[in-house]
């Protein structure tokens, strides 16, 4: 058994332990009201079980990381699979740190699903160990990426605590305008998380089924050397049934899926890039799967998800949740400045000769930093603690995730090494 195999086992074991400990956390939090038990003793016992399980998961996650590092000779943060796996590990570490300070079992119930989703999302990307291209062969890869991931993990914990605060304070029975609006947005936040789950589920479902559809796209390009028009056929491979076909394309093989044997639409002309239509198609499938998942959940629970979760968070003092959120962000902010901006600048200066080049990833790191500095300034003013600050923390996590994932998938740029394909 070589290191690569050990790392694969480490990944799988960590994933299943996280899933198990999530269930334990739910039992620990919600089981207090069950009959025939002393709530305090129940929480103590199940809290310990769940924390031990999640810590074992983290240990296995660390084994994955160390083994893959030993196998490849470089820290496993060099592509999207490795980075997202690393990020979920850092979320678990940040959760553990915050847990040791505040000892709130409830955090685990929300932190674990986030770590699990990020980990599952990582598995969507190609998993092979890639050799490092010259620009990545630097000590700064280790420092810059690990610190950036650490700070983003703390922002994630800040998001989790803010979500708890909101679930705790929103009056689900009230019908006044502000409460209705908040109920709608909290439901939308939960729905967005389910869309991400929908994306992961659809990718794995079609991958398991081995689905593949092929398109050719005629592209006329002018060859400058020969000064003649030549037509190149570009092939696009879909791993999900095409709803949107590439712009001006012909199907080569499109296996029928639920009687659907051709695309319904063609991508608009400005999406002429080969992968743009495929990505749009993937997004549509993610939305469909996510909506179906959401509707199933609603049918089973017969209530908005926020309302279902609200009783579970009743045990926490909202002021504590607010403070945990603030604290996590306050811990993360200097690390983010150092790791994602200062060290990134030093590395950029060394590798590219300029410390700042307005590359999309750089700009989005700056946007994240500006966003959280707004958050920190606003927190100083009265009336921004609590509800407003929590919404800012929730939105902030969206900005972080866009910087990490969205930029690579949509905008690309110099950091595109971490993208798909």
């Amino acid at each position: 058994m070589d290191f690569l195999e050990i790392s694969r086992y480490g990944f799988m074991i960590a994933f299943f332990l996280y899933c198990a400990s999530f269930i334990f956390y739910v039992v620990a939090v919600t089981g207090k009201t069950w009959k025939n038990r002393d709530p305090e003793q129940h929480e103590r016992k199940w809290g310990r079980i769940s924390f031990v399980t999640s810590s074992l998961g983290l240990l296995s996650h660390l084994v994955y990381c160390a083994a893959r590092w030993a196998y490849s000779g470089h820290i496993p943060v060099s592509n999207m699979y490795e980075f997202m796996t690393f990020l979920s590990m850092m979320v678990m570490i940040a959760f553990t740190v915050i847990f040791f300070i505040y000892r709130k079992i409830l955090l685990g119930m929300f932190a674990l699903p986030i770590a699990i989703i990020i980990m599952a999302y990582a598995a969507v990307f190609p998993r092979e160990v890639q050799p490092l291209i010259p620009s990545l062969r630097s000590i700064w890869l280790y420092i810059h990426v690990t610190l950036a991931a650490t700070s983003e993990a703390f922002f994630a914990v800040g998001f989790i605590a803010a979500l708890i605060y909101l679930l705790r304070t929103i009056e689900f029975n009230s019908t006044d305008k502000s409460a209705r609006r908040q109920k709608w947005w909290i439901e939308f936040t939960l729905f967005s998380i389910i869309i991400v789950v929908g994306f992961i589920v659809s990718v794995f479902a079609f991958r398991a089924a081995g689905y593949e559809a092929v398109y050719t796209q005629n592209k006329t390009t002018i060859d400058s050397q020969v000064q003649q028009d030549s037509t190149i056929d570009k092939q696009g491979v879909y791993h999900m049934p095409p709803i949107i076909a590439p712009y001006e394309s012909k199907p080569v093989s499109v296996p029928a899926f639920l009687g659907m044997d051709r695309a319904w639409f063609e991508a608009p002309s400005w999406m002429s890039g080969a992968s743009a239509a495929r990505k749009l198609n993937t997004v549509i499938w993610a939305l469909i799967t996510g909506i179906v998942l959401y509707l199933i959940l609603r049918l089973i629970l017969r209530r908005p998800l926020g309302q279902v979760l609200a009783p579970a968070v009743r045990g926490i003092d909202p002021n504590d949740a607010d403070e945990i959120s603030y604290r996590a962000i306050a811990i993360g902010f200097p690390i983010f400045t150092l790791g994602a901006l200062v060290f990134a600048m030093i590395w950029a200066q060394q590798a590219w000769g300029r410390f700042w080049g307005w590359d999309p990833k750089e700009v989005w790191a700056l946007i994240t930093w500006l966003y959280y500095s707004v958050y920190l300034h606003l927190r100083l003013s009265r009336g921004f603690q609590g509800r407003k600050a929590s919404w800012l923390a929730v939105l902030g996590f969206l900005v972080v995730m866009f910087t990490l994932v969205g930029v690579n998938l949509i905008i690309a740029g110099l950091h595109s090494y971490a993208g798909t394909d």
Binding site: E128, I133, E323, A330, M345, G353, W358, I367, H377, S381
Partner: protein, 557 residues
């Protein structure tokens, strides 16, 4: 006419307008003596400079920039502006291209609108730079407006504060003291507080304990660092401080770096790829080749004499030798050379042809024809070849005129004026393509027919491959001078120092006073109330008072 506020506190201290808490005793000055709301403890309740009465013009500008609200808006606008710039590629990403057509061709109508709005160079546009300058102004003024009054307030704190100041803190405890302990209670409290590393100032029946006050200066240090950083970035672009050029360095040649008296030689350029056993099994299957290293073995020379005289060979002295790699630039006295790109296609350096008289078969020469710095005249037997023009990348434009598409010797051509026997007095023109493929592609003979018909009499020919000299590869280096960089790093260092000071430490204070056997305790921290409550609770426990952490939280809103 503004109402003259009565700002005199009951303790007799005359406060400035805008003061929230009496500078001396801490009594809230919000008139509502009965209010139990939590105190506004920002800047310790002192009046800021921007809270002057009857502001004049300069005061108004000061007041505008000193507002945190304005600062937040400035940051938000900058944030949104920065987002706009990431929608499509920025012009600065490209070296040679035409932005007026690029965006339209690539993105259609939307692209054209994007370009017309100037968003293709968002970060250089006047409004974006103005936002940054305004943020800079806000950083300076916000800091000055607050830090001086805060410094004054913190350096002359009264130990015994007004009762309301204590009871309206966020962490409060009030309760009776066991009988007989009143006299030395305060004295006994000093020790456990010192153990928690507080600085304790005690009076007969009042006490102030304080720690980590320095963390209060963190935000202002962050702002100073940001100012240093912004100024360094602003002055970076000044002439003489900044140089940013890209050059091709053909292997084995010394190339002058313009604007300096330095020459750089690319001694050897190598590309190394990962071998099969360095790849993982999965990756080998993909069949991809991944480069491992690009390296230019470079030698840097300083010119010591004949530097500006083109007729003489400059005298060079070696000053630095370095293997330039990605992530490992050459650095010499502020100049850096970065590996940027490379070209492995061999290029002609020189040829050594002979001149052949087609009629007699006689050969004259060899003469050395260099691509980059060719000799202007060659004397070959009875003939003279005068170089009239050269086209390194020969092509014909729309008018049929010969042009050179680039400076690279992709399709070199030399136009000579030939003089000698059987040729008219004024000479006759003759074009020569050193590469056989170009001779055929551009039809050398047909051109010469038009030029003067020398192709039947004379011919320029390379006899063998040993007479052709190639440049094996070229390295594209980015040469930079950035005199402002030390200040950029200094600014960032100061920012980090301030961040660590203000986020990883908290300024904590505990006030207590004893009135008729009743202990009143108030505590304040800049962050982490959870830790503050825990500390107060453990202090009270050490004093024999049981107080649950949660019970210390002041319910007032």
């Amino acid at each position: 006419m503004a109402l003259i506020e009565n700002t005199k506190c009951e303790c007799g201290h005359q406060n400035r307008v805008g003061t929230v808490l009496c500078e001396s005793c801490g009594k809230p000055l919000d008139n509502s003596g009965e209010s139990q709301a939590l105190l506004e403890m920002r800047y310790d309740g002192v009046a800021r400079r921007s809270q002057r009465v009857n502001p004049n013009f300069i005061d108004r500008i000061w007041n505008f920039f000193s507002s945190v609200k304005v600062a937040v808006y400035l940051i938000l606008f900058t944030l949104l502006g920065a987002m706009l710039g990431t929608i499509f590629e920025q012009e600065s990403n490209f070296i040679n291209f035409d932005p007026s057509t690029f965006y339209k061709n690539k993105y259609g109508q939307i692209g054209e609108i994007y370009y017309k709005l100037g968003l293709s160079h968002t970060y250089e546009s006047w409004w974006f730079v103005l936002l940054l300058v305004m943020i800079g102004a806000s950083l300076v003024i916000c800091s000055l407006d607050r830090v001086l009054p805060l410094y004054k307030a913190l350096s002359k704190q009264r130990i015994r504060k007004h009762l309301q100041f204590l009871t309206r803190q966020k962490v409060v405890y009030q309760g009776p003291i066991h009988e007989g302990e009143e006299t030395d209670w305060v004295e006994r409290a000093v020790k456990p507080l010192r153990r928690k590393r507080y600085r304790v100032h005690a009076e007969k029946d009042a006490l102030l304990a304080e720690k980590q006050r320095f963390s209060r200066w963190g935000p202002y240090i962050i702002h100073i660092g940001l100012i240093v950083f912004l100024l360094a970035v602003l002055f970076r672009g000044l002439p003489g401080l900044h140089l940013d050029q890209h050059y091709w360095f053909p292997e084995g040649e010394k190339t002058k770096i313009s604007g300096t008296n330095l020459y750089l030689e690319n001694e050897k350029f190598t590309v190394e790829y990962y071998s099969q056993d360095e790849m993982s099994e999965d990756f080998r299957k993909t069949g991809k080749e991944v480069p491992k290293m690009f390296e230019t073995k470079a030698i840097l020379y300083e010119c010591t004499a004949n530097c500006d005289d083109p007729s003489k060979q400059p005298q060079l002295r070696e000053v630095k030798r370095h293997a330039i790699q990605v992530n490992d630039p050459l650095s010499y006295k502020g100049l850096s050379a970065y590996q940027f790109d490379f070209d492995l296609t061999p290029k002609l350096r020189s040829v050594q042809p002979v001149l052949v008289n087609k009629v007699t078969g006689e050969q004259y020469g060899k003469f050395k024809l260099e691509m980059n710095n060719p000799q202007q005249e060659f004397k070959l037997g009875p003939y003279t070849l005068e170089l009239k023009n050269k086209f390194l990348d020969f092509s014909l434009n729309e008018q049929g005129q010969p042009i050179s598409k680039s400076k690279d010797p992709n399709a070199p051509a030399f136009l000579f004026l030939v003089k000698g026997p059987d040729i008219p007095e004024e000479g006759s023109q003759f074009i020569y393509f050193p590469k056989q493929i170009d001779k055929e592609r551009f039809q050398q003979d047909a051109i010469n027919e038009k030029l003067g018909g020398l192709q039947n009499k004379l011919q320029i020919d390379v006899l063998g491959m040993e007479d052709v000299d190639f440049i094996a590869s070229s390295s594209y280096l980015n040469i930079r001078i950035d005199r402002a960089m030390p200040f950029v790093w200094l600014g960032l260092g100061i920012v980090m120092l301030g961040l660590i000071m203000s986020f990883y430490w908290q300024h904590r204070r505990i006030w207590l006073r004893i009135d008729d056997g009743i202990l009143t305790l108030g505590a304040h921290t800049t962050k982490n109330w959870f830790g503050m409550r825990r500390e107060v609770s453990s202090f009270l426990a050490a004093m024999g008072i049981e107080a649950d952490e949660k019970s210390l939280e002041n319910g007032g809103k």
